[in-house]
Amino acid sequence: MGRYLIRRVLQFVPVFLGATFLIFSLVFLIPGDPIRALSGDRPMPASVQQALEARYNLDKPFWQQYYLYVAGVVQGDFGEDFRGREVTDIMRERIPVTFKLAIYAFTFEVAIGIAAGIMAGLRKGGFIDNLVRISTLIVISIPIFVLGFMAQLLIGVRWGWLPVSGLGDGFKSYILPAIVLGSTSLAYIARLTRTSLAENMRADYVRTATAKGLKRSRVVGVHALRNSMIPVITFLGVDLGGLMGGAIITEGIFNLPGLGNAVFRAVVQQEGTVVVGIVTFLVLIFLLSNLVVDVLYAVLDPRIRYE
């Protein structure tokens, strides 16, 4: 276990460096004047341009630029916007919103997704199974922004069940956005759980568990389910990336002042530094969550950890 952990952490470092390098070079090596790209279409006084060049170390060689950028990120410096405000300040007040939204969405998708997947997987080919199969495909097919607007229009405005904009109602404000954000992943989790459980129910060790005289609830709940969760756990790691992309859209639609909303606005207002700063932060969170998922994976599956 220890060696596995150390190796995973060691693998994390080059991937983090590679990813930040990729983002960095994309932003700063794109043909044309990088400062002009950062400022978008707005005209820029020469003094500002020089100040920015100095701030982003553009007068230095590329490798040094990258080094200084990464060193900044490691120390928690994600740059500044054009009004001179630290990106970390922007993030600090927005992180709780996005964090709550993500946690609610995650809880919703995991709870309902796994439950639906289990019901479908235990009776493959039955009514519930077909219902889950088709309904999840439909949910996957409806892009999140279409789903978001539809939910806003029907549930929020037409029927008035839940708040549709802003944070005025505390927890209630998060319900609809969280459901919209989690719905696609919910469908994927349900499908994965379903196939995985149906496959494991046919496995030899599940037959052994039955032959041991264990209750069916234990055969399914302890023996089959734990094995079935392995691919689901793997998916959850990937899924966090999806949630972040989704949060940008969901927070935009429901007007929640989170990180996604900040990116959304920064894109519209063409604030390149804010976009890059927050995206770098999100990638970092994504990588760290994947590390956690890997550890979880090893906890679940001893064959991995003892390798």
Binding site: R202, A203, D204, Y205, R207, T208, A209, T210, A211, K212, G213, L214, K215, R216, R218, H223, R226, N227, L300, D301, P302, R303, Y306
Partner: protein, 348 residues
């Protein structure tokens, strides 16, 4: 939860009216079907046998002959769908298991009857420690405490001769060798001192030297406990060595039955004879091995009459029309062949 399990297991089995004079296990006219997309397969088509205390019985046959299915039906672990028991009985000391409600059937498994499987690597749960999987028997059936169950698991591992059982109890299945895994399976099956042990090809996946050790272990344990054992195998050498009686299965039916000695002395069914001729044995040194001609039957489209007739050197016209019943030939032996006597006395 654990105490609950203890009570339900004990009480539900104890209330049953066992007849101490009835045979330990009696399988009577068992019919099992598999309903697949391609059609209905009769995996067991009227299987009858009985097993006494302290007795070892072999069920011999090729893969697809229905030998494993009959054992799974008795254990109550057939995948359903597609498998269904359509007729017959399996009586344990006179109590028909197939008529019991699922809750009582479940209590039977592990407690009175246990099964070990061919491939211990896939039959053990890869995610749990071996000791935990053994201890689970005590915890779930008897409500034993965690520490007590673990102690018993170590004892069992010791009993199946796993060296350094104290350390090994915390290993995972993939850290064991093939032979050790099979020993752990055996330990798990014997945890609650079952009266019937079904061993489904327990040595097929193992190296030859390990095979002998495992068979010896099983024989020793049986002698110690006096349980009845059903050994499912295709290996006649194993049958000759450790079993008292044997039933040979072909295409879902028993085609020959008798004591192992009788069958090895003289087979009364051409299929058994074919099996004998196709293995090497020291007595037959120098003689040619004769494989059975043809291939195992397609269970979806069984030949008419005797299902073995297309491969049978004794076949006459009647064989393709009339299915021979399992006849009593006296002296406790049975054969399902129209020409059993000719086959047995070597008239051809």
């Amino acid at each position: 939860m654990a105490t609950e399990a203890k009570e339900s297991t004990k009480s539900s089995i104890e209330e049953l009216e066992f007849n101490p004079h009835a045979p330990l296990l009696e399988v009577d006219d068992l019919h099992v079907e598999f309903r697949t997309r391609a059609g209905v397969v009769k995996a067991n088509d009227g299987v009858t046998y009985s097993l006494g205390e302290g007795e070892t019985m072999a069920i011999v046959g090729e893969s697809g002959s229905g030998k494993t299915v009959s054992a799974q039906a008795v254990m109550g672990i057939i995948d359903s769908p597609p498998g269904y028991i359509t007729k017959g009985a399996a009586r344990f000391r006179g109590v028909d298991l197939l008529a019991l409600p699922e809750d009582e059937r479940r209590a039977f498994r592990g407690e009175k009857m246990a099964m070990i499987f061919q491939d211990a690597l896939s039959a053990l749960n890869p995610l749990f420690r071996v000791g935990w999987q053994i201890a689970e028997m005590y915890r779930q059936h008897r409500g034993t405490s965690k520490t007590e169950a673990r102690k018993k698991a170590i004892e069992l591992l010791d009993r199946v001769r796993i060296p350094a059982a104290k350390e090994r109890v915390d290993s995972y299945p993939h850290e064991f060798s093939g032979g050790m895994r099979q020993r752990a399976m055996i330990a798990m099956a014997l945890a609650l001192d079952p009266e019937v042990l079904i061993a489904d090809e327990p040595t097929t996946a193992l190296d030859v030297t390990v095979q002998a050790q495992i068979m010896k272990l099983l024989a020793d344990l049986q002698a110690e406990t006096g349980m009845g054992m059903i050994l499912i195998t295709h290996d006649l050498a194993v049958v000759a060595e450790v079993t008292d009686r044997a039933a040979v299965m072909y295409a879902g039916r028993i085609v020959e039955q008798g004591t192992t000695k009788q069958i090895f002395r003289a087979s009364y069914h051409p299929y058994t004879l074919g099996l004998m001729n196709s293995i090497a044995s020291p007595e037959q040194k120098g003689t040619k091995l004769i494989p059975i001609p043809g291939s195992p039957p397609d269970l979806l489209h069984l030949p008419s009459g005797c299902p073995f007739h297309p491969r049978c050197v004794y076949a006459q016209d009647i064989c393709s029309v009339d299915r021979p019943p399992l006849r009593d030939l006296g002296d406790n032996r049975k054969s399902a062949c129209h020409f059993a006597e000719e086959v047995g006395t070597g008239a051809k």
